[in-house]
Amino acid sequence: MNLMMVVGPVLLLFIVLGFVTYAILFERKVIGWIQNRIGPNRVGPWGLLQTVADVFKLLIKEDIIPAKADESLFRLAPVIAFVPAFAVLAVIPFTEKIQFADFAVGLLYYMAISSITIIGILVGGWASNNKYALLGGMRSAAQMISYEIPLVMSVVGIIMSVGSLNLHEIVEAQQKVWFIFPQFVGFAVFLIASISELNRTPFDLPEAESELVAGYHVEYTGFRFAFFMLAEYVYVFAMASLTTVLYLGGWNAPFGLTFIPPIVWFILKFSLIVFFLFWVRATMPRIRVDQLMQFAWKVLLPLALANIFITAVFKEIPVIGKFY
């Protein structure tokens, strides 16, 4: 048990790093195909080592800290951003057995810990002493805090149905019907809010390379920059896992196809979500910052609240109630 406590997270770290490496390649390939391009194909067969080369380049780059930056905060920011991204993975149940911490308030833990990353981004933007970075950091903070609310509200429907915050139990409750069906409104709100939480197109305002150049990490180079990118993609990993767990039935097999191992099901559903994120990125323009805020407060939040209300009502109706 003790050994597992040490080896497990290290193993997960490597899995996550492997995922990030190939998620980036996959993203570039997918977007390349969508855009009539080939995508990376020079480093390694089929471009398989492209990201490895990129990361290697980042690692050997000079570490530049701007002269007028707040040095200690500048160094600290990428760490603050990355650690929570990895910490939230602890509660995700990949299959019935593979889960690191199974505790009662798993969902709450995820939401709470993931908010810490905002501080990292804000600190990074502020410490850079760059106007673009500051604007990016401020935008990021405003955006992520705003979208946290519909994100949490949208899953309240599930919590009411299951009667638990434990992610394991939430998956168990979806053995017959995935929550994507009864909780479709919740799912839509959750998906949109999660894209925004991930700072991805069309909600990539903190970075907005055509407006703010690169936003909060404009002054970061080399390894520190890599950490910000790593945090972003680990969140993609975490958020796609969470979506799978909450709405797509986790490791549960659909149509009774139980001969396929649960982990494969999990990976399939998870990949679908990841693909969806890339697809959206290749299609959508960027929304404007004030529209983004309005969208969160005036559209998503009322929808999420309505979803809670509907769930509560339906729960009491005899026939439909058993789905809720």
Binding site: S210, R286, Q291
Partner: protein, 366 residues
Amino acid sequence: MLRTEEMLLNVGPQHPSTHGVLRLIVKIDGETIVDAEPVIGYLHRGTEKLAEDLNYTQIIPYTDRMDYLSAMTNNYAIVHATEQLMGLEIPERAEFLRVIVMELNRIASHLVWMGTYLLDIGAMSPFLYAFRDREQILNLFNELCGARITYNYMRVGGVKWDAPPGWIDKVGEFVQYMKKQMDEYHGLITGNEIFIQRTKGIGIYDRETAIQFGLSGANLRVTGVKWDLRKNQPYSIYERFDFDVPVGQTGDLYDKYLCRMQEIVESLKILEQAVEQFPEGGSTMGKVPRVLRVPEGEIYVGIESPRGELGCHIVSKGKDKPWRLKFRRPSFYNLQILPTLLKGENISNLVAILGGIDIVLGEVDC
């Protein structure tokens, strides 16, 4: 009330969305623009000064580098002004070739605008689609004159190269292909909710303002002014072709987008007719003296470039070199309105509005 301070934000000259080396000194209050001042001249090469020491044929390659997205129209501006001043007759075949390359160039230029504009707004894919189609035009040009961007194709009195065998057919094929592609663009962009949100009602100005600032091209037409020099002051053989001048109603960015997309369609119409009527045989160069001496006099001729009225003001003293050559660059005029449009806008609208004007810095700075 919380006291807030204004902040000076220096956008450019190196910035992903200033379309070259434009610098904007933007005063912002939070994310609201209080004031903006464009600083230009980073790409000033003194074309007008250089031209005073060059003979008329030698000037043509310099014009390629002004509006580098539409070098054919630039070529035509100088060549056309010179011919008018000399009173030269241009062979039919050369006129057709000129119109074909200019319209192809207009499509290419609008495609680049559309792609980069969507890139400014944050959508990546349309840019690559636009470049895929522009590539076809560049290939056609490559076949015609051996260059893809800076063509140096036209000469006083005609064009340098005749169309290679089969080239006209290829243009015809391209027209049919491009017509189909327009549906794809409309499907991808025109109805996109985010795109509409970002462009509808943004960057509005009215007819009077547009005229006051001397805007031209789609920037003027978008306010409802039907002003296209191909129609209003026809040059070359544009009178022979049947095409419309698309105008907008509201003057916002969405209208600009629709206007330019419609202009592509109209250009395709002209191309289709030009390919059909293309004369068999004939010379591509008129009777032109070996040494071009432009008689003394003064002329101003404006033509419709993709960005607006591209004018050429020549003062000749009867030498083989112009005494004074002045280009009326549409981007230079159009950019002037930017500070007015930006005041009070959100900083996210900055690139959208700037992109909507469609400037080429090579032309602004000349």
